[in-house]
């Protein structure tokens, strides 16, 4: 019995050790980048404890490229996308959850199609459309293909369907019109879903790269990710300290938000996936 117990605790200790090792391995590349960013270049690959700390790399990165403008562009981009997504997805989800309109089943299938065929793979044709519309190299052009989000419509529709009919009817008896009912009954009840979807959408578009890379070609429109890529691949030489500083800088707002609101982030990502 004793032998069995000690064997059990040995296995448990082994598992805990393994888990710790995996976690350490996982955080290692990030810690490494962080180390390089806060030390002078000479120390970026030599790990001595008394290496002097410095913010110089961040200052140099900030001065070497128009990062302030890139931050502004990304901020405008994610806010615009999120705002439009909220409005469009709410209206469409409301239609799908409460109106048995002609062809609603086919329409829903057509909406869900976007879950499989995402804008990311239709870059060639979407570029053509944007040039036909004359809006290549504008911030709205980066956002347009993503604004009617099938994912958002699906998520909100599922939520709206759980709202009791009685609430809806009560509001109707009070004399509220369809839009008023939507705004006064459905939207407030779906608040957690809006937060979850909002977090997922903001992180997706903060991080998005390929389409913005294709559709932008000037400082005044480029989001951070594209700006970072141009900065890192142009003639910085291989000053890794500055490049990692710039890299961490672009990821910082989301990283800090994540570290502060870990639970909300994880729950949002989960809620957005599982319904």
């Amino acid at each position: 019995m004793n032998a069995l117990r000690s064997r059990r605790s040995f296995v448990a200790a082994l598992e805990t050790g393994g888990a710790w090792l995996l976690a350490a391995l996982w955080i290692l590349p990030l810690l490494y980048a962080f180390w390089a960013a806060v030390h002078p270049s000479a120390y970026s690959a030599s790990f001595v404890l008394d290496a002097p700390l410095t913010l110089d790399n961040f200052v140099r990165a900030w001065k070497a490229a128009p990062f302030a403008r890139y931050f502004l562009n990304t901020f405008l981009l994610v806010t615009m996308i999120l705002g439009v997504q909220f409005v469009l997805c709410t209206l469409a989800a409301y239609a799908f959850s409460r109106y048995a309109f002609l062809g609603h089943r086919l329409a829903f299938v057509l909406v869900l199609l976007q879950l499989m065929i995402m804008p990311d793979v239709l870059v060639v044709e979407n570029y053509r459309t944007m040039s036909a519309l004359g809006i290549v190299d504008t911030i709205p052009a980066i956002g347009l293909p993503y604004m009617a989000s099938a994912f958002g419509i699906f998520l909100l529709r599922q939520t709206f369907k759980t709202v009791p009919r009685e609430l809806d009817e009560a509001a109707r008896v009070e004399g509220a019109g369809p839009i008023q009912i939507l705004l006064k009954v459905y939207v407030p009840l779906a608040k957690p879903v809006y937060i979850a979807y909002g977090l997922v959408s903001v992180s997706y578009h903060w991080n998005n790269f390929l389409w913005p890379l294709i559709i932008t070609n000037s400082v005044s429109t480029r989001p951070l990710t594209v700006g970072l890529q141009i900065f890192a691949s142009s003639d910085q030489g291989i000053d890794w300290s500055v490049i990692t500083a710039a890299t961490l800088m672009t990821a910082a707002p989301l990283l800090i938000a994540f570290l502060l609101f870990q639970r909300q982030f994880v729950q949002s990502f989960m809620r957005a996936g599982i319904r």
Binding site: P29, L91, L110, V121, T129, T225, A232, F258
Partner: protein, 326 residues
């Protein structure tokens, strides 16, 4: 519960007659003839859907159809308009070694990242689902790569892999292994990208497994312990099957990701060396926006669309029967 599963249930539910959803006359403010009310429903429904429908049609449905049409035409060059060329683009594709190389790479990439990511995500979830010291830190360490831009991740790993100087070579030097140009060598470049993709996604998928594990009734483990089942046996016969719906959901997402995301290819290797890391979407990007051969890029996109369509059909027919739902 998964997205896929709910979609299926919804479809079943939709199959039932839904006439009762039309708001009943009793609650209407004024009584109108039945056919007028019915038209109200259709008009209101479509008006609500309209803004989203216009954007979806313009940026998803139209481009998908236009891609197929464009693949039968030539690329307009200067004064020459595009002309119908039939299957010429596809013939060119069949004899294009880089296309085959990219497709091949993409399959290797998908078939390595997907099982690795899923296995690691499951391991991580099982690891942090137990009570142990530092659980919060571990969860954070696993999930952090998810909130970072792929472009930032790729830059960090570029540094990590840099020959002689990067952390990888420095760690290996401790064991006397000589420096190696990880991203510059045909043998290792694709594996390096696979590692990056696994690192980025495993923590994301972990949270879905974690959620599923937390919903699992503890009585199952208790009963198994009483029966004297080994932990491996319990995992194989109970936990793993019960996680199947989650695995399906994760699988679909992982497959889509392996065809959708090429940011790291652009940053780390640009498809090189000698096209060993060129993935399908990366090749489309190169053909469409470096060589500006839009017709050929459209034909390549058709291949990608067909792959995704097969996947969608497979998801609804094959998996639906094989997966055990709680």
């Amino acid at each position: 519960m998964t997205l896929a599963r709910d979609t299926l249930n919804e479809n079943r539910e939709e199959a039932r007659p839904s006439s009762r959803r039309v708001p009943s006359a009793a609650t209407g403010r004024m009584r109108r003839p039945a056919h007028v009310r019915r038209w109200d429903v259709h008009i209101h429904g479509w008006l609500l859907l309209l803004p989203a429908a216009v954007l979806l049609a313009t940026f998803t449905h139209f481009p998908a159809v236009a891609t197929v049409i464009d693949s039968f035409f030539s690329t307009p060059k200067g004064p020459r308009h595009s002309v119908f060329v039939g299957l010429d683009n596809y013939q060119a594709m069949i004899s294009d070694p880089i296309f085959w190389r990219s497709l091949d790479n993409n399959l290797v990439y998908a078939l390595s990242t997907i099982p690795l990511t899923i296995a690691l995500a499951m391991t991580m979830a099982l690891a942090v689902n137990r009570k142990l010291a530092g659980r919060g830190f571990m969860r954070m360490s696993f999930f952090t790569p998810t909130v970072m831009p792929m472009i930032a991740v790729a830059n960090i790993w570029l540094f990590f892999y840099s020959p002689g100087y990067g952390l990888l070579d420095r760690l290996l030097a401790l064991f006397g292994i000589p420096a190696h140009n990880w991203l510059g060598s045909e043998q290792t470049a694709l594996a390096c990208l696979i590692a990056v993709a696994v690192w980025k996604d495993a923590g994301f998928f972990m949270i879905f497994y974690l959620a599923a594990l937390q919903q699992m009734p503890p009585q199952l483990a208790e009963a198994a312990a009483i029966e004297g089942a080994s932990r491996w046996y319990f995992f194989r016969r109970v936990t793993f099957p019960l996680l199947m719906p989650t695995t399906l959901f994760v699988l679909i997402n992982a497959i889509i990701n392996s065809f959708r995301l090429v940011d790291h290819v652009i940053v780390m290797t640009r498809g090189g060396p000698n096209n060993t890391t060129s993935l399908l979407l990366f090749y489309i990007y190169e053909v469409g926006f470096k060589f500006w051969d839009t017709a050929y890029a459209a034909s390549l996109t058709v291949v990608l669309l067909v792959l995704l369509a097969v996947l969608a059909v497979g998801q609804f027919t094959f998996f639906d029967r094989r997966i055990h739902y709680q």
